[in-house]
């Protein structure tokens, strides 16, 4: 799967797509692959504050429960309610319909800390090399 070039990425394998100071956040294809079959997603409610680098929810797969970390700080404006009933969407469409939350950014400058698609692809290919070494 390709990593959308307009998105920004974290080392914990989240992506963010920012439009008009609202960022849509999800987990990457690499992350869903590592997790395996997702069975449950726990997300914050609209109005909750998230902080860059801090956990805001978790994804439970048949293997483990993993924290999801916010790429940026801000206030949650929407959580993807569809994932409650169909968490498996995270495995099939992680970069689009299986977004997790939408956040009103507190500080646009935080985006500069994140990787672009090219840097992220390099980062995970390094990870894959480590894993196969």
């Amino acid at each position: 799967m390709t990593y959308p070039p307009s998105y920004r990425y974290t080392k914990q394998h989240e992506w963010i797509d920012v439009k008009d100071s609202v960022g849509t956040i999800g987990i990457t294809d690499y992350a869903q692959h590592e997790l395996g079959d997702v069975v449950f997603v726990e997300l914050p409610k609209p109005g909750a504050k998230v902080q860059a680098g801090k956990s805001f929810g978790n994804v439970e797969s048949v293997k483990a429960v993993s924290e999801i970390y916010a790429p940026v700080s801000g206030e949650v404006v929407e959580a993807n309610a569809e994932l409650e009933a169909t968490p498996e969407k995270l495995n099939s469409d992680p970069h689009k319909s299986a977004w997790l939350i939408r956040v009103k950014l507190a500080d646009q400058a935080e985006l500069a800390q994140l990787m672009d698609a090219k840097a992220y692809e390099a980062f995970i290919s390094e990870k894959n090399k480590e894993a196969s070494a």
Binding site: F40, E42, K45, N58, E60, A64, V65
Partner: protein
């Protein structure tokens, strides 16, 4: 596993391995002032014969030949020797937590059956593998509602067991949870007018008990509607589990917290008892405690495993739903065996006998001048009476007749000065009820 202390030779051997000369040297990192310098104040060792003698003497102190009309959260019910025989089997008695599904199918299946029985009785979708007792289950249920609603206020009916309320307040004291009490109406149920005036959209849960501490059955369905109007959850607690053989289960409640002592566990010095939490399936990830699930193995055969363990603190400490990391497996097994022996008809019959005998007892007591029923709402096997004088003094007189009198409600409710909570289970005979009534009559006839 042996429970024998180490021999001097073994101690010496172990010290040699770690490179110490004496036991004291091992503790040298503990600052001098914190080290115990004198022997513990304990009696010396006893021989086997002396120990048997000691326990025979203690057993002789037991009060034999008494009839009890005391309930108030702990109930005397018939128990079969089969229950004790089964739970004393080594496979159950000494087994550890069934983490390894491949070698613990028996234990896991018995827990799964316990959960199934609890769901059937409470009208809920999922039940956990048990909690310490009813009081901690009720508190954990409230904390669960707090997590589910993200609200910090809870309304508790004063008709909930006073000790359950104390346990809840202990948990809440330093956690930021605000606990407010709601009074009792004239018929003995929770005061719904007061309840509705305290109920705002910041309330996580309403906690009620049914049958409540005064013996009265609460209108669970109505209370659930009241709670749901503001997005609060209804937590229903049950202290007398046998009532579920006859009384409509609290199916409309969002969480049920129950004491299972009535199912095969004898009343004893505070336990061990067995708590239960049952709830709706959609709330399962916020449930505290252990859960056993049914699955299929690689050959497609039915099997059982511990499931959703990521809620538990041994997996994710700071994100756990509770700091409970155990369950009352043996007590839960006793309850399971007891219920299987009784069966559906047997439990209903037992519940019927409780109700019939309690009604008979009330009728007998009401014939005594000055004695009247305190609350009009329906009851199960406990009811409150008002006496013409102090219930405490009356009880002292009853005790001389080898009758353990009713619970003196004034100890927990200062406003109920002459009120007593009478409990009548299937263990009490008609003759004993008549004897109690006549003993109460003569106690009240005596000059003060």
């Amino acid at each position: 596993m042996r429970y024998l202390p180490k021999s001097p030779a073994e101690r010496k051997q172990m010290l040699a391995v770690v490179g110490g000369k004496t036991i004291d040297e091992l503790f040298s990192s503990v600052p001098e002032q914190y080290r115990l310098k004198k022997a513990l104040n304990l009696p010396g060792p006893l021989s086997e014969a002396e120990i048997i003698q000691y326990f025979k003497a203690r057993a002789a102190e037991n009060s034999l030949g008494y009839t009890s009309f005391l309930g108030a959260g702990v109930y005397n019910h018939l128990r079969s020797v089969i229950t004790d025989t089964i739970i004393q089997r080594g496979e159950f008695l000494t087994s550890y937590t069934p983490y390894q599904a491949e070698i613990t199918q028996g234990t896991l299946q018995s827990i799964f059956e316990f959960q199934t029985l609890m769901c059937q009785l409470t009208g809920q979708d999922v039940a956990n593998a048990s909690m310490y007792d009813g009081s901690t289950a009720a508190t954990e249920a409230v904390l669960m509602a707090e997590r589910l609603t993200s609200r910090r206020r809870v309304l508790v009916a004063r008709s909930v067991h006073p000790e359950y309320r104390t346990v809840l307040k202990t948990y809440a004291k330093n956690s930021g949870l605000v606990v407010e009490e709601v009074g009792i109406s004239a018929d003995g149920t929770v005061d719904t007018i007061a309840l509705q005036s305290s109920l705002k959209e910041d309330v996580a849960a309403i906690l009620v008990q049914s049958p409540n501490f005064l013996g009265v059955i609460e209108p669970i369905a109505d209370l659930a509607n009241i709670a749901h109007k503001v997005g609060a959850l209804l937590v229903a607690t049950v202290t007398e589990a046998v009532s579920l053989g006859l009384v409509r289960p609290p199916a409309e409640a969002d969480i049920v917290a129950m004491e299972g002592q009535s199912f095969g566990l004898a009343p004893s010095y505070g336990g061990p008892y067995v708590g239960v939490i049952a709830s709706r399936e959609k709330f399962v990830r916020q449930m505290p405690g252990r859960l056993v699930g049914q699955t299929t193995d690689s050959n497609g055969r039915r099997g059982f495993v511990l499931t959703l363990a990521t809620r538990e603190q041994h997996i994710r400490r700071e994100k756990a739903t509770s700091n409970i990391c155990t369950n009352q497996a043996l007590c839960a097994l006793a309850a399971t065996v007891h219920l299987c022996l009784l069966g559906k008809e047997g439990l209903r019959e037992m519940a019927h006998q409780n109700l019939s005998k309690a009604r008979f007892a009330l009728a007998e007591l009401e014939k005594i001048p000055g004695v009247r029923r305190a609350f009009d709402a329906p009851f199960f096997n406990e009811f409150t009476i008002v006496l013409p004088r102090s219930a405490k003094l009356v009880n002292a007189q009853l005790l001389r007749e080898k009758i353990i009198g009713p619970f003196v409600l004034g100890t927990a409710y200062p406003e109920l000065t002459k009120h007593a909570l009478v409990c009548v289970t299937e263990t009490v005979t008609r003759v004993e009820i008549e004897k109690f009534a006549s003993a109460l009559r003569s106690a009240l006839e005596q000059p003060v």
